[in-house]
C-alpha cells in the first residue's frame, strides 16, 4: 500500500497511531464491500445453492433431472424453442440495431437527443408492459390488426397474432432492439469518421466502406450486442407469461408451469440451472473472448 501518503516514512511523525490506521486501512476494503458481499450471499448465493441441491435431488440417480432436461421431449422442446427464439430475435435486433445505431452515431440530425430518448426508452419498461404494447398493436382490436383487416377487407380476428409465437417475437424484438442499438451506438462512435471518409474519397461505396472499414472495427461491439440480446431473450419471463402462456413452450414458462403446476422442483430447478448456465455462460464467455464487459 505504498501509494498511501500516511504510509510514507516522511509522514510517520504526523501519524503516531500509524499501526492502528494501517490495520484499519487493511480492513477497509472488506468493511466497505461487506454489505454487498452479504447481500449477494444471502439473496443470490443461498438461493442458487438451494436450486442446485433441489436439482440434484432424485431417487434414481444424481443427474437424473439434468438428463431429463436434455432427453425428455417436453423439456427438450422447451429448451430448443427458447434457443431458437433467442437466436432469431437476436439476429433481427442486431441487424435493425445496426441501422439505428448508424443513424444515431453518424447522421447529424436535428433532434438526435429525442431519437436516442425514444429508442432507449423501452429498456426501462417492464416485460409485461411490452406485452401490453404488443396486444394493443396486433391483438384482437389492435391498431395493426384493424389496419390489415381494413386494407384487405378481411376479418380482424384473422390478423390477431398477439397471443402466440408472432406476438412473442414482436415483443422480444421490442425490448431487445433498444439494448442492441445503444450497445452498438457506443461501438460506432468509437470508430474515427475520418477513416470512413478517407475510404469514401478513395472511391469505396457506402456498403464497401461499411464492410471493410466500419464492420471490422465494431465487431466486438456487435458481439456484445449479440450476447446481450441473446441472454435477455433467453431470460425474459414477464412478456412471455402474458403473451404465450400455454401456447409457446419456452424454458422460463416451462420452469414456471412445472414448479407451480406440478411442484416438481427437481425438474424445474434443473431447467433453471441450465437456463442460468446459458445466460451467465454467454456473458462470461464474451468477457473471456473480448476482454470487456457486456454491461458497462
Amino acid at each position: 500500500m505504498s501509494d498511501h501518503a500516511d504510509d510514507h516514512p516522511a509522514f510517520a511523525w504526523r501519524r503516531p497511531d500509524v499501526s492502528w490506521r494501517r490495520r484499519l486501512d487493511d480492513l477497509l476494503p472488506w468493511l466497505l464491500s461487506g454489505p454487498l458481499v452479504a447481500l449477494y450471499a444471502l439473496f443470490l448465493g443461498l438461493p442458487l445453492l438451494r436450486l442446485v441441491r433441489l436439482s440434484l435431488d432424485d431417487e434414481a440417480w444424481i443427474g437424473a433431472n439434468y438428463a431429463a432436461v436434455f432427453l425428455d421431449p417436453t423439456y427438450r422442446t422447451a429448451l430448443v424453442t427458447s434457443l431458437a427464439i433467442a437466436a432469431l430475435v437476436t439476429a433481427v435486433a442486431v441487424v435493425l440495431g445496426l441501422f439505428m445505431a448508424y443513424f444515431i452515431a453518424r447522421r447529424d440530425l436535428p433532434g438526435e437527443r429525442v431519437i436516442v430518448a425514444v429508442i432507449s426508452f423501452p429498456i426501462s419498461l417492464p416485460g409485461i408492459l411490452v406485452a401490453w404494447a404488443v396486444i394493443v398493436l396486433v391483438g384482437r382490436t389492435g391498431v395493426l390488426t384493424r389496419a390489415a383487416a381494413a386494407v384487405t377487407g378481411g376479418d380482424p380476428s384473422g390478423y390477431s397474432v398477439a397471443f402466440g409465437l408472432v406476438g412473442l417475437l414482436i415483443g422480444y424484438v421490442y425490448f431487445t432492439l433498444p439494448r442492441t442499438t445503444m450497445s452498438l451506438v457506443g461501438a460506432i462512435e468509437k470508430v474515427d469518421p475520418t477513416v470512413e471518409e478517407a475510404a469514401r474519397s478513395l472511391g469505396a461505396s457506402p456498403r464497401q466502406t461499411f464492410r471493410h472499414v466500419t464492420l471490422p472495427a465494431i465487431l466486438p461491439g456487435i458481439a456484445s450486442a449479440v450476447v446481450l440480446a441473446f441472454s435477455v431473450s433467453m431470460a425474459a419471463f414477464g412478456t412471455a407469461l402474458l403473451l404465450a402462456s400455454g401456447t409457446v413452450d419456452i424454458l422460463p414458462l416451462k420452469i414456471y408451469s412445472v414448479i407451480l403446476g406440478t411442484y416438481d422442483y427437481g425438474a424445474g430447478s434443473a431447467m433453471a440451472i441450465v437456463l442460468t448456465a446459458i445466460t451467465v455462460g454467454v456473458i462470461y464467455g464474451y468477457a473471456r473472448l473480448f476482454g470487456g464487459a457486456v454491461y458497462e
Binding site: S33, V118, I119, S124, I128, P206, A235, P252, I255, A272
Partner: protein
C-alpha cells in the same frame, strides 16, 4: 461520367432505404405507446367514442390500484437508498483497492443482471419462504425490497466504478491525504463530490428499474403487497382496455419522468444495461 451518375443514384436509393428502416423502427417503438395513451383517454379505433375524451379510466385505475402504486413508490425509494449505500462503497473498494479476490468480486458483481429473474425469484422463495436464521421474511415487503436491491445494486456499482475511473481520483485522494485528511474526510469531501452526478444518475436508473421489476417480485409477493407491475399483470388480464391502458400510461409516465430527470443530471446515455424483460 455515366458510371459516376449511376453510382450517385444507387447511393440515394440505399440512403432512402436506410432512412425508411430507421423511421419504421422508430414508429415500431412509438406506435404502441401512443396507442396505449390514446386508449387511456377513452379513444377507440371504431371511431364512435372519439369525441368523448375522458379521464375516467385514470380515476378507475387509480381507485383500484392506489395501494400497489404507493407500495411500488415506497419500495423503489427504499431500494434506491439502500442500493446506493451498499453499492457506492463497494464500487469504490473494487476500483480503489487491490486485495485478494478483487478480480473475482468485480466479475461477480454483474451476476444479478446475468441470472434470469425467474431463477432468482424461485431460489429466493425456496430459501426465504420459510423463517430462516430467526427471521421470517416470507411474502414481506422487506423481502421484495431485498430482492430489488440485489437486482439493482450492480447498476450503482458499475456507475461508481466507471465514474471513478473517469476522474483522476487517485491524485485527488493523495493530495487530500498528504494535506492531512483522514480517509473519512477524503471519501466524503473529495471522492463523493466528484462522483456525485454519476451516482445520482445511477440511482435514478435504480428507481425506474425497481418500479418496473416483475420477474422476481412475481414469485415472492404475498396477496397483501402486490407492486404496480404485479397489479399491471392482473389488470391486463381482467380490466377493460381503457383502464389497463390508463394503468400502463401511468407507468410509462413514471418511467418518462425518471428518464427526464436522468437526462437533467447526467449527459450519459441510458446504456446497454437495463433490467430483465
Amino acid at each position: 461520367m455515366s458510371e459516376r451518375s449511376r453510382r450517385g443514384q444507387s447511393v440515394d436509393v440505399g440512403l432512402a432505404a436506410f432512412y425508411v428502416v430507421c423511421i419504421a423502427v422508430l414508429a415500431f417503438i412509438l406506435l404502441p405507446l401512443l396507442t396505449i395513451l390514446f386508449h387511456s383517454v377513452g379513444g377507440s379505433l371504431s371511431g364512435r367514442s372519439l369525441g368523448s375524451l375522458t379521464l375516467a379510466h385514470y380515476a378507475g385505475a387509480l381507485a383500484t390500484n392506489l395501494d400497489p402504486l404507493l407500495l411500488s413508490l415506497q419500495v423503489a425509494l427504499l431500494t434506491t437508498v439502500v442500493a446506493t449505500l451498499v453499492g457506492v462503497p463497494a464500487g469504490y473498494t473494487l476500483v480503489r483497492y487491490d486485495f485478494a479476490f478483487v478480480d473475482l468480486l468485480r466479475e461477480l458483481t454483474v451476476l444479478p443482471m446475468a441470472i434470469p429473474g425467474i431463477v432468482v425469484g424461485i431460489g429466493i422463495v425456496r430459501v426465504w419462504g420459510v423463517p430462516r436464521f430467526g427471521v421470517d421474511l416470507a411474502g414481506s415487503t422487506a423481502l421484495i425490497a431485498c430482492a430489488h436491491v440485489l437486482f439493482t445494486v450492480p447498476f450503482i456499482v458499475q456507475t461508481t466504478m466507471s465514474t471513478l475511473e473517469s476522474i483522476d481520483y487517485r491524485r485527488l485522494e493523495e493530495s487530500a491525504r498528504a494535506l492531512g485528511a483522514g480517509w473519512v474526510e477524503t471519501f466524503l469531501y473529495v471522492v463523493v463530490p466528484n462522483i456525485y452526478r454519476g451516482v445520482v444518475a445511477g440511482a435514478i436508473m435504480v428507481f425506474a428499474l425497481s418500479m418496473g421489476e416483475f420477474n422476481i417480485t412475481f414469485f415472492i409477493y404475498a396477496t397483501g403487497n402486490a407492486t404496480l407491475p404485479i397489479a399491471l399483470f392482473g389488470g391486463f388480464r381482467t380490466a377493460s382496455v381503457g383502464q389497463a391502458s390508463a394503468l400502463a400510461s401511468l407507468f410509462v409516465g413514471i418511467v418518462v419522468l425518471s428518464l427526464v430527470v436522468f437526462q437533467m443530471v447526467s449527459d450519459q446515455r441510458i446504456h446497454e444495461t437495463g433490467g430483465n424483460a
